[in-house]
């Protein structure tokens, strides 16, 4: 994902600055042995110099994890995961590891970068090319520093969780695990035991975060976290927009990704969380792709608070995620906008849960699923209105677009309402791209692939409009690329 225009300018003004970041704990370049055990958990905690309470928390999670069964109700099929085959801790990639120039990089990967319009410099960064020209230090660490200064001026804390544990441990302790309890599900449990890093964001009362925060600028993000843990707290009356992910296809030797994201919005606060995910989906048969099992939940704790999830999911061999909102505060609002595209042999079981607890809460769900190839995709949603949720309102629209006769699109909504004044409206439709539509566009000179992309983008328009602009433009391109070869 290229930087926003603003950031690019900033970057250009940095010339040959070296950055020393005192907070990073010196990490020896070694790796924990393969496998998962209590010792590994201790090892991780020790490496990160964590306080006692966090080690205890991790151990508790690990022990619970041992007892929990794998969730089996999702409509996804995969061979059992061998948890013992992974390294649960490894140092950031060293300088000698990466390709020496773009010529060493997989040409297919480069072709995709071109199509997405990613500038050369960023291609190098994304591909991990080493020894980038010294006079143009495109160093994520440096860039992050510049932003850090601006953020600090506003009182915003945006740093890795490991750093947050040193800067503001009380805040972390107060909120960690309060939205997604460790034993929520097997994957979040594993994450609680072995998470290695992730973002911590705190926006003080009344502050509108001066820029969009992005994982792009997180320190050490070169080592794309398998078990990322993100915690965002928006204090009273604050606002933050957070961008996660990348349109560029991301490969990783680690097949299993089990992240946890917790969002907390206090009175009158708003959190906008956008994700564009294009993890490696595997080959045409789905082999070798990434398993993306994420637990994301937002708690609208305060009155008039608001949390919006916007996601464009096009990658991964298997996606399993349900960004959810717990609408506790009166008048709180939860939103979920999603585009999920599956092609070839991908599988996705994704959706949302909106739990209405406070009074006059509102939730809005717009889900657009596109299946092509031999893929299988399920929308799974829960709208739950508790007895005391007076005046709750929900509107859900799930639409599926099927391309080709070998794929599947399924909708499994659960609606549970215990309040008579609550209004729930749910609609779902299924359709395909008609021959008529394609012929119409082609007769106007638009080639077949572009025509498919145009129709699909039209189908997804409502969701694309929710994304911050730069993300939206790339997401549109990504939509087109993801469906290459699916029609005709």
């Amino acid at each position: 994902m290229p930087a926003t225009a603003e950031t690019a300018d900033q970057v250009q003004s940095i010339e040959g600055e070296k950055y020393k970041y005192g907070f990073i704990t010196e990490i020896e370049s070694d790796m924990a042995p393969k496998g998962l055990s209590e010792d590994i958990v201790r090892f991780i905690s020790a490496k990160k110099n964590e306080p006692e309470w966090l080690l205890d928390w991790r151990l508790k999670a690990y022990r619970r994890w041992l007892e929990m069964p794998e969730p089996k109700w999702a409509k996804v099929d995969f061979p059992p995961i061998d948890y013992q085959q992974y390294h649960y801790y490894s140092a950031p990639k060293s300088q000698e590891d990466g390709p020496q120039s773009l010529e060493d990089v997989d040409p297919e990967l480069l072709a995709t970068y071109e199509k997405l319009g990613i500038p050369i410099r960023e291609q190098e960064m994304l591909a991990g090319v080493q020894n980038v020209a010294v006079d143009y230090v495109f160093d994520s660490v440096s860039v992050a520093t510049t932003f850090k200064k601006k953020l600090e001026a506003a009182g915003v804390i945006f740093c890795p969780i490991s750093e947050a544990l040193e800067r503001c441990p009380d805040l972390v302790r107060k909120y960690l695990g309060t939205v997604v309890p460790m034993a929520d599900n097997k994957h979040s449990c594993l994450n609680s035991a072995v998470f290695t890093d992730g973002s911590f964001v705190y926006i003080p009362p009344g502050v509108k975060c001066p820029m969009e925060l992005s994982t792009y600028f997180r320190i050490n993000e070169q080592n794309t976290g398998q078990f990322e843990r993100t915690l965002i707290i928006a204090d009273k009356g604050s606002y933050v927009s957070y961008l996660e992910g990348c349109t560029a296809p991301m490969r990783d030797e680690n097949q299993l990704h089990a992240a946890v994201v917790e969002l907390i919005a206090l009175d009158d606060a708003e959190i906008k969380y956008s994700t564009v995910q294009n993890w490696y989906p595997g080959d045409a048969d789905g082999k070798g792709g990434i398993y993306n099992f994420v637990t994301k939940r937002g708690a609208c704790r305060g009155k008039n608070s608001k949390i919006s999830w916007t996601q464009v999911e096009t990658g991964s061999a298997i996606t399993w995620k349900y960004p959810s909102c717990i609408l506790q505060g009166d008048n709180s609002v939860g939103e979920f906008y999603s585009i999920a595209i599956t092609n070839n042999a991908q599988q996705a079981d994704t959706g949302t849960k909106m739990i209405h607890i406070g009074k006059n809460t509102t939730s809005r769900i717009i889900s657009k699923g596109i299946s092509a190839g031999k893929s299988d995709q399920t929308y799974r949603g829960l709208v739950k209105i508790s007895a005391k949720a007076e005046g709750a309102r929900n509107y859900t629209q799930c639409d599926s677009l099927l391309i080709g006769d070998k794929c599947g699109a399924h909708t499994v909504p659960y609606i549970e309402s215990r309040n008579k004044a609550a209004i729930v409206e749910h609609e779902a439709t299924t359709s395909t791209i008609s021959e008529d539509q394609l012929f119409y566009l082609r007769q106007r000179g638009i080639p077949q692939e572009a025509a498919v992309a145009l129709v699909v983008n039209g189908f997804c328009r409502e969701v694309l409009q929710q994304l911050p602009m730069e993300f939206a433009v790339e997401a549109q391109k990504l939509v087109g690329i993801s469906l290459e070869g699916s029609v005709g």
Binding site: W73, A387, S400, L402, I403, G404, D405, K406, C407, G408, A409, H410, T411, V412, P413, Y414, I415, E416, S417, R418, N419, K420, A421, A422, I423, V424, E425, H426, E427, A428, T429, T430, S431, T432
Partner: protein, 443 residues
């Protein structure tokens, strides 16, 4: 000590069972017991039973019905009026005095399962278990084991019944808790036509448990209308499992009105097995008190060019609970399928609950499928409008409820049946506003 924990005594040995001389039936019963014992009663861990717990079967032990307990005086037997024939069962036993199958047209067999087992066991053997053959449901296994009543409707090729046939199951009016297990077989041969109306009613204070299974085969180009009123007593547990197969160019129209029972669950499985097949599966549910009503359905659009449509509307008052689980499955090559589903519920109190899961599972791309679900309360603006025109609140509420459900009842194509059902709806409404009748005429 019993094999089935909630049934008193041995289910098979030492009992007078229908068709007990037939070896194949005894084998079926035995197989049913074995299957049932493996799983026991369905629990909430099963996805399909997630929202319904068979609690009365935890707490109560039921006597299977033997002779006696059926010589009860029945004042009125519900009926839709002008019917071709009628069968009435009380606690699972035929009441010949209240039944009449003397004027059936040629080519139509409509009789008790017991009689048909005696007269034409080969036919029953050939047809029983044929539509439900791959089903793996505990309640079906239980019925296989315990079936003790029920009817057969068999219409031969090309024959048409111009008037409906009617079956009434009356339960209750005993001193102890009893259970009965109707097994119904409906076979419409090619190009035949029939309308069936079933009433399930209960009286008295005793608890009872009715577990019925219906197998319906609608032949190519045949036309079947299937109407049911479930008005069991408030001490009753009613579980019905229906398996239907619809042939090429055949048409099925089903409507279930649920207005009674402490706990009721109707699970309908429909397979659209031939091109051009169409199924309409509709219902209305009205619950109060602590009643629990579960309508679960699974429609398999298995071949190309089939259509289905579902409209389910409900009204829930007091602390009642409604469950709607509708799943439409479009098979891989079932192109040009058109499937629609709509579920709307009005909650009249804050203790009522609706759990709805309208599901689509689609493997073909050239299809049109849609579902909609809403829940809410009576439109306060409409209510005010009516009252501002002088209509008392109680009547105004009833008019709105009636108009809300009226839509669903429009799906009943038989006018006479629709009128009768609408009447039941009106009589369920609180304060028995008979003024509604006058209003209907004048409006």
């Amino acid at each position: 000590m019993s094999i089935l924990p909630f049934i008193e005594g041995e289910p098979i040995a030492g009992r007078q069972l229908i068709g007990q001389d037939l070896a194949w039936l005894t084998t079926r019963r035995q197989a049913g017991i074995e299957r049932f014992q493996k799983t026991g009663l369905p629990t909430q861990k099963l996805e399909s039973w997630k929202y319904t717990r068979l609690r009365p079967l935890d707490d109560t032990r039921y006597l299977p019905v033997d002779a006696g307990g059926t010589d009860i005086s029945i004042d009125t037997v519900p009926s839709v009026g002008d019917v071709a024939a009628r069968l009435v069962f009380v606690n699972g036993r035929l009441r010949a005095d209240l039944s009449d199958i003397s004027e059936l047209p040629e080519g139509v067999r409509f009789d008790t399962l017991e009689n048909v087992l005696a007269e034409d066991p080969l036919w029953v053997e050939a047809n029983m278990g044929s539509v439900a053959k791959d089903a793996d449901q505990a309640m079906l296994a239980l019925n296989d084991a315990m079936m003790d009543s029920g009817f057969v409707l068999h219409v031969q090729k090309g024959k048409a019944l111009t008037k409906p046939v009617e079956v009434v199951f009356i339960g209750g009016l005993t001193d102890q808790a009893i259970a009965y297990f109707p097994r119904n077989l409906i076979v419409l041969e090619e190009a035949s036509q029939a309308t069936l109306v079933k009433h399930h009613v209960g009286h008295g204070r005793a608890e009872y448990f009715a577990n019925s299974v219906s197998e319906i085969a609608v032949g190519d180009a045949a036309n079947f209308k299937h109407y049911k009123v479930q008005a069991e007593s408030i001490h009753a547990t009613h579980v019905a499992t229906v398996h239907t197969r619809i042939g090429r160019d055949a048409n099925y129209e089903g409507f279930g009105l649920s207005i009674g029972g402490l706990l009721s669950r109707t699970e309908t499985n429909i397979t659209l097995a031939g091109q051009g097949a169409n199924a309409g599966l509709h219902g209305a549910y009205m619950m109060r008190g602590n009643e629990h009503c579960d309508n679960t359905s699974y429609i398999d659009m298995a071949v190309p060019n089939t259509t289905c449509n579902q409209v389910f509307k409900g009204v829930l008052d007091d602390a009642s609970r409604g469950v709607f689980q509708g799943k439409i499955h479009v098979a891989r090559d079932a192109q040009k399928a058109d499937g629609r589903m709509l579920n709307k519920t009005l909650l009249l109190s804050n203790d009522a609950e609706i759990d709805s899961k309208p599901e689509l599972e689609i493997y073909a791309d050239d299809v049109q499928c849609a579902h909609g679900m809403t829940t809410g309360q009576l439109d306060t603006t409409a209510l005010f409008y009516l009252r501002s025109r002088g209509i008392p609140e109680a009547l105004a509420r009833n008019m709105l409820v009636q108009s809300f459900l009226g839509d669903a009842l429009e799906e009943i194509s038989d006018e006479n049946v629709r009128e009768v059902f609408l009447d039941r709806v009106v009589h369920w409404l609180p304060a028995h506003c008979f003024l509604a009748g006058e209003w209907k005429e004048s409006a």
